[in-house]
């Protein structure tokens, strides 16, 4: 029953979030600030993780192909598919849920416990619209670029892994990358990313906005927000895959 109450409250929150911003100039400022906080500042971790995970996927695939009848170009093909279909959109989103989700909950939660949200409300400002809408827009607009970056870097990481370990040739890897390229898979990955980006912005915002208590409560809410965002990403990933690929 408590879960249902949370779901209802979450959707009621969204009703307040998606209203016309009260002042365009202030909204624009907030949006660019969020691009920086939630997007630009996440580029580093995405680059780092994509590169190495791409390398690991390529190495693992190469290590597990023992049968000489299986062509070596399969390493490039498998790395490409794994990175585009799952690693870049899902794995990156889970990492961003941890990094950005905890930031969103703690920043909004601190504002709640220090009465900054009350101050906004007293001024007559729709605090949900002012605080959450720019975050949603920033993540939804920016994360597809992060995921595309992760795709390129993951595949590049695989190439570097083959080059440095000599486990597969550059030519085989490139041939595998070019084999059976289906642009819809990229579209599928980007559609997933949009949904995940929405969850990464809204679920932690919900936990932060309705936090009650002090700093310990904010810490607990951050943990809960990250856990719930990851759970929702994983569940929606399953349903989106079923809807879009089967």
């Amino acid at each position: 029953m408590a879960y249902l109450r949370h779901v209802g409250k979450y959707f009621m929150m969204l009703g307040q979030v998606f209203k016309r911003p009260q002042k365009g100039r202030v909204f624009k400022e907030a949006l660019f600030k969020e691009f920086d906080e939630l997007g630009i500042k996440s580029i580093g971790i995405v680059i780092f993780i994509s590169f190495f995970i791409g390398g690991v996927i390529a190495l693992q695939t190469a290590l597990n192909i023992e049968n000489p009848l299986i062509p070596k170009y399969l390493v490039g093909f498998a790395t490409k598919r794994s990175v585009i279909l799952e690693f870049a959109p899902t794995f990156c989103s889970i990492i961003l849920a941890g990094k950005v989700g905890s930031y969103i909950t703690s920043s909004i939660g601190s504002m709640r416990v220090s009465e900054q949200i009350d101050a906004l409300e007293v001024m007559g400002i729709n605090s949900l619209n002012y605080l959450v809408f720019p975050k949603v827009l920033a993540t939804v607009l920016f994360y597809p670029f992060l995921v595309i970056l992760a795709m390129f870097l993951g595949i590049f990481g695989g190439w570097v892994a083959g080059f440095t370990s000599s486990m597969f040739s550059e030519i085989d890897y490139t041939q595998g990358l070019q084999l059976d390229f289906n642009p819809f898979l990229v579209q599928y990955a980007l559609i997933k990313t949009l949904i995940f980006a929405f969850l990464i912005a809204t679920v932690p915002s919900y936990h932060g906005y309705y936090v009650k208590g002090g700093s310990i409560a904010v810490g607990k809410a951050s943990t809960q927000a990250v856990v719930w965002t990851i759970i929702l990403i994983v569940i929606s990933n399953y349903f989106l895959t079923q809807m879009l690929l089967t």
């Binding site: 002042k23 100039r25 202030v26 009465e115 101050a119 001024m123 007559g124």
Partner: protein
């Protein structure tokens, strides 16, 4: 003028405010006092519209706040200035941006006009040359003064303060009290302060409302509080030896 009529408010079956009626006049500093848990904060939050009353009305210059249209409510919100207990300044913004924030949201002014107004109110609260500082770089007293500057930047008709002296040393507390009273006189604002500070009660209490268990147990001026024989008020206000002596001295002097 604010007229509160038979205000009731409760949470989860617990009645916090039990039929409070009182009036707050323009140009006067009114203090709400009472023990922790007496309903002061709920009362103040009801006045500023953060809590909706269960029954009873709060009227602002004749208009009942729960009956305002969206436009009237928007207008009313701009007439309210609020100083929160912990100042509630936006951490990520400088002093200048904090004070300018309501202007940016609601006024159609150029950057220069807004900056001029910000500098004026910062000067009024004796905080020149702090524009580029962040709240974390300020002392508690300075934060309170920034909060007051932000509260008055829109020229409010009503100023509400929730324990403006909490956590401040006695000197700074007196400065804040004086500042609030000067601003109230100067702009003829209706000021309502929630406080535990007995210095404030003696010094700036044009009107004092004493709450006990959600009921208005007494009201009067800071002169009348010396003379009252209301047991609950006497016990609360004169709980320290110092204030007992002050009261005795005042009563002897006015005999």
């Amino acid at each position: 003028m604010i007229i509160v009529d038979k205000l009731y408010k409760g949470f989860n079956g617990v009645q916090v405010l039990k039929g409070i009626s009182t009036t707050f006049k323009p140009g006067k500093t009114s203090l709400i006092i009472g023990q922790s848990g007496s309903g002061k904060t709920v009362f103040l939050k009801s006045l500023i519209g953060l809590h909706t009353p269960e029954s009873g009305t709060i009227s602002f210059n004749g208009g009942i706040n729960t009956e305002f249209t969206t436009e009237q409510k928007r207008q009313w919100r701009q007439e309210i200035g609020m100083v929160f207990q912990g100042s509630a300044l936006f951490d990520s913004q400088t002093v200048q941006d904090n004070v300018m924030f309501p202007l940016k949201m609601f006024k159609k002014q150029s950057e220069e006009q807004m900056l001029e107004r910000v500098n004026f109110v910062l000067k009024r609260v004796n905080l020149e040359n702090s524009n580029s500082k962040f709240p974390a770089e300020l002392s508690g007293g300075m934060q309170k003064r920034v909060a007051i500057a932000r509260a008055i930047v829109m020229n409010p008709k009503y100023l509400f303060c929730d324990e403006p002296n909490s956590g401040l040393d006695p000197n700074t507390a007196i400065l804040i009290d004086n500042l609030i009273q000067e601003i109230t006189d100067e702009y003829q604002i209706t000021t309502v302060i929630n406080t535990h500070d007995m210095n404030s009660v003696m010094q700036i209490g044009d009107k004092i409302v004493f709450l006990k268990d959600g009921v208005k147990a007494w009201e009067g001026t800071n002169k009348e509080v010396f003379k009252t024989d209301n047991e609950a008020v006497v016990k609360f206000v004169y709980s320290s030896e110092l204030f007992k002596k002050v009261r005795l001295a005042y009563l002897n002097e006015t005999k």
